[in-house]
Amino acid sequence: MTPNLVYVLLVGVLFATGVTLLLERSLTRVLIGVILLGHGANVLILLGGRAGDAPIVGATPEEGMSDPLPQAMILTAIVITLGMTAFLLALAYRSRHLVGHDEVQDDVEDRRIMVLAERDEGPGTADTSDEHVRGSA
């Protein structure tokens, strides 16, 4: 099969821009990155089937049809992206509502462990909570 150069280049551009945005902290940018990545993936799938006329029996002779299978896959992907977009937008709104901006924060607990590791502190023996348990029992 002979690939279409326009598609190949487009996959590259869409993945590059999508990933760049995905690595941002602002959820809106992440979302736009996801959408662009989605376009890129769709074009990538499109490369897997030949182009042609609409795959409708009767309207197009079978030899002239574009490959319908990648199309069906892309169609579900498009609608999933819609659901994903809605969810991420809701997340961004929620974040803005709760903390005043829509940026992904570092995980506090992970940071704490990181600091512990750097200071060579942290759990020594496994179980030292005896008094607490007795006290609450």
Partner: protein, 917 residues
């Protein structure tokens, strides 16, 4: 045997309720389960059962009971029943943990039963780990005590470690032999280095379970368990699992020199270490625990040898040890119960005060010391006889065994002296007969087994048959033989050791068992490693994680791509030059969106990219895709607009230029790799597309002309099913993120119409900022659009359209109504709960899929119905149309949910005073 296992499982499940209803008397009832196992084993010589389990994996519930299994079932069932009966008096009537204890105990007895009758090695492993987990729960009976928790965890970790090693050993063995049935493998054992590996791994499991050196430390610590648990698990059952495994495998594995060497060395070391430590303990229970460690060492050494006499001797010792050691544990429990202490420095005068208890204790201890005419004596005689061959190696082992026996005599004496000796009279009240009876029965059984040695010999001989060596028989009297002389030596030396040590050894008290420190260091190291590793890898930063993942992808895929060079050469610029133009638009818009500083700019540019992609779809010959993409893009823009009004106009800029460059670099790398992959995959493709036959199939089976739609609702309908489920989840997620309180979720359903007026445009009142003209126009076209969406839905099977496109059109009609007139207008247009629309859609789709089943079809199979109706004329009906209706409803529901959440509810929250947050 399966029935017995089921009885145990049922009893375990019912135990908590029974205990609640009957109190501690319920334990007598529950003791019937292990008693049934005992009864069955006493009346059945051998048995084999096979039940299918996981045929795909070749797993079956293969059960087999031979002479060894029978001995173990008798012990597991008999001791289990007696200890349960004992527990009915041991625990206080109001003990809150009794129900839990009873359930776990019976379950443990069942697991142990399964372990000793399992023929399939993997099944054996399952029961093995079941006993490990249940013992963890039983040792940690008193979860408020730190020592209990610690001991339980330690036992769990050590035995699980061994268990995993054993599993690997089993798999090596099973794969090598081509079967996991021991009865099959044993007859035809493979040889070679793999067998040695398997032997060592399996022995690791056995040694850790039976607390042999170097794993001996967990057993004394596990004495934190309630005494009945120790009497059962740490004398008769769990620790015997390792011994059982050695006994089971030795007849076949004894050909492996490694097996013999490891078993005998570790066994002897454990025998001597345990005996030595037992002499230094003040706590009677710990004394017994070290005694058990010592005896387990003896058992493994003897059973791992692989001669006929040794096997017979080992089996006899297993029986004797289970009887006397559980009896002794129960006696210690009684002593603890009546005096409140187990410290032999404090106990005094019990022998005179409670002669019955003392008699039981002395009888059991005498068996432990190996005095005639008890079972312990018979077993020990046989052990000595097995090694009294004169061969140098056997003689060395024999010396170790005699020394161990001397220590055993010494600590047996120490036990009796400590528990019952002393001149100071005791004030404690003697135990009731119900508490004493189980221990007495066990001790008496030890006496009976000794007196009836020939009977025992007959029962155990089949196990040893087939092994090399002279035809030894268990008996009390063999004449004036070498073993008898050695017994005399051991008893004399033991008495001397006892006399020499009983006054000393105060210093050793409270010292943790050897190996504890190493275990602690190891655990500390693991904890530290976890902290360091987590700290090094879990930075807590999402971009960092994503970057790592993407870089891994770049490296792996990039290396694979480079390795695949030279690449196939096949490339054409485009299908039509217009693609280059549109492609350039997409690329420019995408790059612009990535560089944009304002949210609105980014949104518009990404919309441009989306519409341009739709045009690309048209040029490709995919009208369905183009339609859907354009509609989705429109819906996306609506959503963006709804949310962006609550977000700042510009992205907050970070001054870190360096990190931005890193992001772009990663992005470019990923893009390059993705493009290269796309090229190589497409250019290298040789296979014919699977979809070549789809057009014909679409018409003949799917009953439709639009191949893409038939793929969605028929050929790959499972994909679509999964996808619409995701949509429902996403819609639910959006709603639950926006509605802050679950009570607010009622807002997902339309509110009652405001104002008293009815009639057209009644909702338009009072919405000053909204345009009346726009509202009127949208109302005028609303029904037309909905009608058009239905047309798309029903014609989609044969022409571009379908459930997705139709649903999106209808949803956009709703969006227009909302944008024009706000939430009241939306409620007027769609007076239904979005959740119900989603649920109905999923129900219709799944229901259509299932509808084929009653007619003998497969799930989601379509049927084609052609009808001639009076007015409508010819109607061509395909059942998958209903599936598409479900899809339509779900898409409508999704967007309705989005409008209610991101639209109406957000309006409400924005109009609320700020402090509401």
């Amino acid at each position: 045997m399966l029935v017995l296992l089921a009885v145990h499982a049922l009893a375990a499940v019912l135990a908590p309720s029974l205990v609640r209803a009957l109190g501690r008397r319920a334990l007598y009832l529950l003791a019937l389960a292990p008693a049934a196992a005992l009864g069955w084993a006493l009346t059945t010589a051998t048995a084999t059962e096979t039940h299918p389990w996981v045929p795909q994996l070749g797993l079956e519930v293969a059960l087999h009971m031979g002479a060894l299994g029978r001995l173990m079932v008798v012990l597991v069932g008999g001791v289990g029943a007696l200890v349960l009966a004992y527990s009915a008096r041991y625990f206080a009537p109001d003990d809150a943990g009794l129900g839990r204890f009873a359930a776990l105990f019976v379950a443990f007895a069942g697991a142990m039963l399964g372990l000793v009758v399992a023929d399939d090695l993997l099944l054996l492993y399952v029961f093995w780990e079941l006993t490990t987990v249940l013992s963890y729960l039983l040792i940690g009976h008193d979860a408020a005590r730190r020592a209990g928790r610690r001991a339980a965890l330690q036992a769990l970790l050590v035995t699980t470690f061994g268990g995993l090693a054993m599993l690997v050993g089993f798999i090596v063995l099973g794969e090598h032999a081509g079967s996991y049935r021991w009865s099959v493998i044993a007859g035809d054992l493979p040889s070679g280095p793999l067998l040695t590996v398997a032997a060592v791994l399996i022995l690791l499991g056995a040694l850790s379970k039976s607390a042999l050196v170097p794993f001996q430390f967990w057993l004394p610590a596990a004495m934190a368990a309630p005494t009945p648990v120790s009497a059962y698990l740490h004398a008769a059952a769990m620790v015997k699992a390792g011994v059982f495994l050695v006994a089971l495998l030795t007849p076949a594995f004894a050909v492996s020199a490694v097996w013999q060497a490891v078993a005998v060395t570790a066994g002897l070391a454990t025998l001597l270490y345990g005996g030595w430590r037992a002499l230094r303990e003040h706590d009677l229970k710990l004394l017994l625990a070290y005694g058990t460690v010592s005896q387990l060492g003896l058992l493994v050494a003897v059973l791992g040898t692989g001669t006929r006499t040794a096997a017979l001797a080992g089996a006899a010792m297993v029986l004797a040890h289970a009887l006397f050691k559980s009896a002794l544990f129960l006696v210690v429990g009684v002593v603890d119960h009546v005096t409140g202490t187990r410290d032999l420095r404090e106990l005094s005068g019990l022998g005179r005060r409670m002669p019955a208890l003392a008699a039981v204790g002395v009888l059991a201890a005498a068996s432990m010391a190996g005095l005639p005419p008890l079972a312990g004596f018979v077993g020990k005689e046989a052990v000595f006889a097995a090694f009294a061959t004169g061969a140098p190696l056997d003689t060395a082992v024999l010396a170790g065994l005699v020394a161990g026996s001397a220590l055993t005599v010494a600590y047996s004496a120490r036990f009796v002296w400590g528990a019952f000796g002393g001149a100071k009279p005791s004030e404690a009240l003697p135990p009731g007969p119900a508490l004493l009876a189980p221990a007495a029965l066990l001790a008496a059984a030890g006496l009976a087994a000794g007196l009836a040695a020939p009977v025992v010999d007959g029962l155990l001989a089949p196990y040893a048959a087939g092994l090399p060596g002279p035809g030894y028989h268990l008996a009390l009297w063999h004449g004036l033989s070498v073993p008898l002389g050695l017994s005399a030596v051991a008893v004399t030396a033991g008495a001397a050791v006892f006399a020499a040590t009983r006054r000393r050894s105060r210093d050793a008290a409270e010292r943790p068992p050897a190996g504890t420190a190493a275990y602690d260091r190891l655990m500390h190291g693991v904890d530290r490693l976890a902290v360091e590793l987590t700290g090094a890898t879990q930075r807590g930063s999402l971009p960092f994680y994503l970057g790592v993942i993407l870089l891994v992808m770049v490296v792996l895929a990039g290396v694979a791509l480079l390795a695949g060079a030279p690449w196939p050469v096949a490339l054409r610029p485009w299908d039509t030059p217009l693609q280059a133009v549109v492609g350039a638009v997409v690329a420019v818009a995408a790059i612009g969106a990535a560089r944009a500083h304002r949210r609105l700019t980014a949104m518009i540019l990404v919309g441009v990219a989306g519409y341009a992609v739709a045009v690309l779809f048209i040029l490709h010959g995919a009208p369905d895709l183009a339609l859907t993409q354009a509609l989705v893009e429109t819906a996306t823009i609506v959503m963006f607009v709804l949310v962006l009004r609550r977000l700042p106009a510009t992205f907050s800029e970070r001054p870190l230029r360096g990190s931005r460059l890193v992001r772009v670099a990663i992005g470019v790398a990923v893009g390059a790799v993705a493009a290269a992959m796309a090229y190589v995959a497409a250019a290298g493709r040789q296979a014919r597309p699977v979809s070549l036959g789809f057009p014909d199939l679409a018409v003949s089976y799917g009953g439709g002309d639009n191949v893409v739609n038939v793929i969605l609702v028929d050929i790959r309908a499972w994909d679509t099913m999964g996808e619409i489920s995701v949509l429902v989840v996403a819609a639910t997620g959006v709603a639950s993120l926006i509605f802050r309180r679950s009570a607010d979720l009622r807002q997902r359903a339309p509110a009652p119409p405001p104002g008293p007026g009815t009639g057209w445009l009644r909702t338009a009142t009072g919405a000053a900022q909204q345009s009346i003209v726009l509202q009127v126009v949208t109302r005028l076209i609303f029904h037309v659009i909905v009608l058009f969406s239905l047309y798309l839905l029903f014609s989609g099977h044969d022409a571009p359209g379908g459930g997705f496109a139709g649903g999106l059109v209808a949803a956009l009609a709703l969006a227009v109504r909302y944008l024009a007139g706000g939430r009241d207008e939306l409620n007027a247009a769609a007076p239904v709960d979005a959740g119900k629309v989603l649920g109905t859609g999923l129900f219709v789709s799944v229901g259509t899929g299932l509808a084929a089943l009653p007619f003998g079809g497969q799930i989601l199979q379509s049927a084609i119905v052609d009808l001639h109706l009076p007015v409508l004329g010819h109607v061509h009906l395909v059942t998958s149309t209903f599936f598409d209706i479900g899809v339509y409803l779900i898409v409508v529901g999704l967007v309705l949910d989005i409008l209610r959440s991101l639209g109406a509810e957000m309006d409400r929250q924005m109009s609320e005073p700020e402090e509401a947050a």
